[in-house]
């Protein structure tokens, strides 16, 4: 039994979650502050992967990063990087696809904090960055945990976007969801069952751990 798709999936989910935490926190903070038409447009673009068919997103990413033209050609010519049908390409697609799962909960939590908390910190002479890390972030810990978990779990289950940009290369882009599909195509239901069961158990443990951590903090793990 080849378990490499499971390990590849866990690796992809972990890297995506770490990357999204580092870019999602400042974006969520920026979006949570005063609203403008420009911010609404950016927010709409970030939310698009929630409603857009994954194959559509995958198709456009495939076009954008194709080494034959555009950004893909430039990346190949200048940096010798090819994103389509590669693991870095999967990471990029996952980051874009899971962006709303990271940013949504964090932005909502920041908006629910009283503005006077940040203001009190400013009057003590503290910068935006100090205020964010010492005052705001510690008070939305449960929402950050929820966002990171949702991102991780969502990445585990990606299929359409991953298939479009990564294909099905064993050990490189063949993640668990694709391995399940592949096994079913080959009528190897035993292998499909093992992959599915492992994914089910990992996802269940991930979600239940948020319930436990947020037991007293949030009304629902999706809050």
């Amino acid at each position: 039994m080849d378990l490499s798709p499971i390990f590849l999936t866990l690796k992809l989910a972990a890297i995506t979650t770490v990357l999204l935490l580092s870019i999602g926190l400042p974006i969520a903070r920026w979006l949570s502050k005063s609203r403008s038409i420009f911010k609404l447009i950016i927010e709409a673009i970030i939310t698009m992967p929630l409603v857009l068919p994954p194959s559509v997103l995958g198709f456009y990413l495939l076009l954008a990063f194709s080494p034959q033209h555009g950004i893909g050609k430039w990346l190949r010519d200048v940096f010798d990087i090819q994103l389509v049908f590669s693991f870095p390409g999967l990471i990029l697609a996952s980051v874009i696809y899971s962006l709303p799962f990271m940013i949504g909960p964090i932005k909502s939590a920041l908006q629910q904090l009283s503005p006077s908390l940040a203001q009190a910190s400013y009057t003590l002479g503290k910068s935006e960055r100090q205020t964010f890390f010492h005052v705001l972030l510690p008070n939305i810990r449960s929402s950050v945990l929820t966002a990171a978990t949702l991102t991780f779990a969502h990445t585990l289950g990606e299929f359409g976007v991953v298939l479009m940009i990564g294909g099905n290369i064993p050990g490189v882009t063949r993640v668990a969801s694709i391995a399940v599909y592949d096994a079913v195509e080959n009528q190897d239901y035993a292998a499909a069952n093992v992959y599915s069961l492992i994914l089910f158990i990992i996802t269940f443990i991930t979600v239940i751990s948020v319930f436990v951590f947020n037991k007293y903090k949030a009304k629902s793990p999706l809050e």
Binding site: Q119, A120, Y122, T123, L124, K126, S127, V135
Partner: protein
């Protein structure tokens, strides 16, 4: 000397009213600001602290221009570094009383002195949710004092304190203000409050519609 001459819409989304005030506050003085609800008392403090932007006006503190809308000058709240006591305290839920003080200053003897004045030494390890209303209010005052502000802005700062605690705290604070040369602006909705404490009082009337 602090000179404030500002005009600020009280509600950006309607034409409910305009706060207009031109006033001078002598250095080291205590001023009581009172007036009806919604007149703009809190807004005035926030404008002075740099937490709200007025439509037009100037604020000059000791010959330094903090705000001049015509010249495009507006110092950030961090640059103004006014002590600010928020009406609803704005304490940080993640920090204990002592951590609040350490966030503001690392001057240990000063922290110890302030905690003693606020009678919070035995509650230093408690987070705000475990403090009473009066203790939370005292912590908010001490946190603002921790930065040794030259200008202290207090929004209904004694409302949750019992009379004895209030009298003693004010007496101790007055000594500190004198020692630091702090100019103090205290918002109060109660016309009788702070009798004998303030040097001048300013009435903020109902907003101009």
């Amino acid at each position: 000397m602090i000179t404030v001459d500002i005009e600020k819409k009280l509600n950006a989304r309607s034409t409910q009213g305009m706060l207009k005030i031109a006033q001078q506050f002598p250095k080291g003085s205590i001023t009581k600001i009172y007036g009806p609800s919604g007149a703009g008392k809190t807004t005035l403090l926030k404008v002075i602290a740099g937490l709200a932007k007025p439509e037009k006006g100037v604020i000059i503190v000791d010959d330094v221009s903090w705000l001049d809308t015509e010249k495009g000058i507006s110092l950030s709240p961090q640059e103004r570094k006014t002590g600010f006591v928020f009406q609803h305290y704005a304490l940080f839920p993640n920090m204990t009383a002592l951590q609040h003080m350490h966030y503001a200053t690392h001057h240990e003897p000063w922290i110890k002195q302030l905690l003693a004045i606020g009678k919070l030494e035995t509650f230093a390890d408690q987070k705000p949710e475990y403090l009473s209303g009066g203790q939370q209010q005292r912590l908010a005052i001490l946190r603002a004092m921790a930065i040794k502000p030259k200008l202290l802005l207090m929004d209904e700062p004694f409302a949750a304190l019992d009379p004895d605690m209030k009298t003693e705290l004010i007496r101790n604070l007055q000594l500190l203000w004198k020692q630091l040369g702090t100019t103090v602006l205290i918002v109060s909705h109660n016309p009788q409050e702070l009798e004998g404490v303030f040097d001048q009082e300013v009435l903020i009337k109902s907003p101009i519609v």
